[in-house]
């Protein structure tokens, strides 16, 4: 462990000691904290963190986030009440007054982890921490050390959860740097179906570290549609970890949208643990200013006949930086694996930069693994064509960026979410208001 990490873990030590040791969660937390101390924070010498410098995080002292907010503060993030089951967490804590769980299908459990761990800990105990790797990921270990609250969703066998679950994590920001460790646990039993949207937002401006960990356990033949939307303050540090474990013939689609944050790292681990699984991961990153967004995906094809698709797009302006690293592991007996990876990048300024890397570890011989990456600027010929039809240069550029980026939004099945994200995207583009409503 580096000296810096020592100092940091000492600040976290105090916070850890302040936790309630009587909580049924505490045993798991202790394991997490122990592992966190063993691992220490990574540096750029660590292969997996070569392109992302987390020094700004390790040199900041974070306090636990606290405070409350009004309904108005969450409206930029919400979908209409009737269209989803809404769970809101403020500073990591469930806010019942801002949430609207609505009516759930029989047997479905949608609760805060704090609540369920008190009332029926047995229900979550076998799953919590079962697919999030504290062994390898220090931020997951850190999250685990501080699990207090979060979302628990259980969709029983054969149940179709009709409406999406929308979970919103809001942190109130101010002069002091604050930290939250949101946790999400989703158990989709055999032949069930669910849609989950995770939204991260801020109330006010300031520095924070948001360190969420999501675990999705996908039963045989279950279908999961998952969205993660990062819309925090541009001073926020955000290190997330999505962990998916798929059983036979299950189907998972996860979309990652990164708009906010100063330094964002999205870890994604997907284990295809049985035959016939489909996994699709789409991403869109829009960076400007000095934003840094790193998407680190790892897909483990552990069994034969599974397909995985990764399709990530990045648009970077100003001095922003992006990283895409897609690791595909194919186990020796995972024959007939079909894995396709695409990383498409649009750089809008000379100073913006992207690092894109496929990494293939293939130990089976009858597999199809392809990867492709493009890095480009706005096509001059297209710009001229639009201008030659009377559209001014800024609007023409905006239109072209929008066209590039919107492909990943256009396929969102939830209409309200799609419209909302189109708006968020346009807000980020120069003169985007010109295009509002017109598309």
């Amino acid at each position: 462990m580096t000296t810096q990490a020592m100092i940091e873990s000492d600040t976290f030590q105090a916070a850890f000691e302040a936790l309630d040791t009587q909580s049924p969660l505490h045993e798991l937390r202790s394991k997490g904290f122990e592992r966190f101390r063993e691992l220490g924070f990574p540096t750029r010498r660590d292969e997996e963190w070569r392109y992302t410098n987390i020094k700004p995080i390790t040199t900041t002292t974070f306090k636990p986030a606290s405070g409350s907010i009004t309904k108005e503060s969450i409206t930029p993030y919400t979908l209409s009440d009737t269209s989803c089951h809404q769970m809101v967490f403020v500073n990591g804590r469930f806010a019942a007054e801002l949430s609207d769980v609505g009516t759930l299908e029989a047997g479905v459990r949608l609760e805060s982890i704090a609540t369920i761990s008190e009332s029926s800990f047995d229900m979550i105990a076998p799953h919590l921490g079962s697919c999030a790797e504290i062994e390898r990921e220090v931020f997951t270990a850190l999250n685990t050390a501080f699990i207090e609250d979060g979302l628990f969703l259980l969709v029983p066998r054969d149940v179709d959860l009709e409406k999406p679950v929308h979970v919103i994590f809001i942190t109130t920001l101010g002069s002091a740097a604050v930290v939250t460790h949101p946790r999400i646990l989703i158990v989709a039993e055999e032949n069930s179906r669910a849609t989950i949207i995770e939204t991260y937002g801020s109330d006010g401006d300031g520095v924070c570290l948001t360190n969420p960990v999501t675990e999705i356990i996908v039963g045989e033949n279950a279908i999961i549609d998952h969205y993660k939307i990062e819309q925090e303050s541009e001073e926020a540090y955000h290190i997330s970890s999505l962990n998916v474990r798929q059983h036979r013939s299950s189907n998972v689609t996860s979309h990652n949208y990164s708009f906010g944050g100063r330094l964002v790292r999205n870890n994604l681990n997907c284990a295809l643990d049985d035959e016939g699984c489909e996994a699709t991961f789409n991403g869109l990153t829009i960076g400007h200013g000095r934003q840094h967004v790193d998407n680190y995906l790892r897909i483990d094809h552990n069994k034969p006949n599974c397909n995985s698709w990764e399709y990530y797009k990045t648009v970077l302006d100003d001095q922003s930086r992006g990283v895409f690293c897609g690791r595909i592991y194919v186990a020796p007996d995972a024959q007939k694996t079909d894995a396709k990876q695409t990383s498409m990048n649009l750089l809008l300024s000379e100073e913006a930069s992207i690092t894109t890397m496929p990494q293939l570890d293939i130990f089976a011989d009858d597999v199809k693994c392809t990867h492709g990456a493009t890095i480009g600027q706005i096509e001059e010929s297209q710009l001229f064509y639009l201008q030659s039809r009377g559209i001014d240069k800024v609007a023409a550029k905006t239109l072209l960026i929008y066209a590039f980026a919107n492909e990943t939004i256009a396929e969102i099945k939830i209409e309200e979410l799609r419209t909302r994200l189109e708006r968020v995207l346009l807000d980020r583009l120069p003169r985007g208001e010109l295009l509002q409503g017109g598309l």
């Binding site: 001059e380 010929s381 297209q382 001229f384 064509y385 639009l386 201008q387 030659s388 039809r389 009377g390 559209i391 001014d392 240069k393 609007a395 023409a396 239109l399 072209l400 929008y402 066209a403 590039f404 919107n406 492909e407 010109l434 295009l435 017109g438 598309l439």
Partner: protein, 256 residues
């Protein structure tokens, strides 16, 4: 009224001079045809008129309705009323043709001090202009020019021209690669748009288009210069004899 006046225009690309002193006057209502062998600079002239940035104008000037065209950005030129139908229309994936047209039409209207069209009036306008080129509305649901056949692209250019109502239409080989039916449709479209306030420059290799759209003047462009100008008969002459018969006269350009 003089629509366009080009004086001693020299233009180069990547340091290579392509246009070597072009003089051309186009009055309102006139149709001029420019012919010339491959590589003689026809598209360069069209693109310089439209304002493509990669061409450098090293000498000369272009006046459009009395304004110095070279001072204007491509979009400003378009709003002033210059329209170029591209020899190779550009595909713009992800941008819906309808949205693009609406943005374009409204940019023009705003410039002319008119209100923006609402969705209803816009669709009416589309329907009316589609008829002109016998184009199917479903094409407009696709991305701009994406997956259009060669002929569809050319027709779409004429359709766009009709939508934008320009003062000067510069058609760069809009007839090339069209079958005879499509050629007739394109020619008919141009003829319907002809009028006392609108001028055309038709760049073509073939006399055939000129059977349908009869030009007032024909110019021969050779190696960056207009080496010969005449009436519509000149096109027939070229069709029969090729450009070789002009080569001998290069040093004595005939003026109209």
């Amino acid at each position: 009224m003089t629509m366009l006046e080009i004086r001693n225009l020299h233009a180069s690309i990547e340091g290579k001079e392509i246009l070597k002193g072009i003089d051309l006057v186009v009055n309102a209502g006139e149709v001029h045809s420019i012919m010339g062998p491959n590589g003689s600079g026809k598209s360069t002239l069209a693109r310089v008129l439209a304002g493509e940035a990669c061409y450098e104008v090293t000498e000369g000037e272009i006046l459009f309705k009395g304004k110095n065209l070279l001072d204007l950005e491509p979009d400003e030129r378009a709003r002033e009323g210059v329209f170029m139908a591209f020899q190779y229309p550009v595909e713009v994936p992800g941008v819906s043709t309808k949205y693009f047209l609406k943005a374009s039409v409204n940019a023009m209207r705003k410039h002319r001090g008119l209100d923006e069209l609402d969705a209803f009036d816009f669709l009416e306008l589309i329907k009316e202009k589609l008829k002109l080129v016998h184009m199917d509305e479903s094409l407009l649901d696709r991305a701009v020019n994406e997956g259009f056949s060669g002929g569809e692209k050319k027709r779409a250019e004429i359709f766009q021209m009709a939508m934008l109502d320009p003062c000067l239409g510069v058609l760069d080989e809009t007839d090339s690669g069209l079958d005879i039916d499509a050629l007739r449709i394109v020619a008919e479209g141009v003829n319907k748009l002809r009028g006392p306030d609108r001028s055309f420059i038709l760049i073509t290799h073939y006399q055939r288009l000129l059977n349908y759209v009869v030009p007032d003047f024909v110019h021969v462009l050779l190696d960056g210069r207009i080496v010969r100008s005449g009436g519509k008969e000149l096109a027939l002459e070229l069709e029969e004899n090729g450009y070789s018969f002009i080569n001998g006269e290069i040093n004595e350009p005939v003026s109209v």
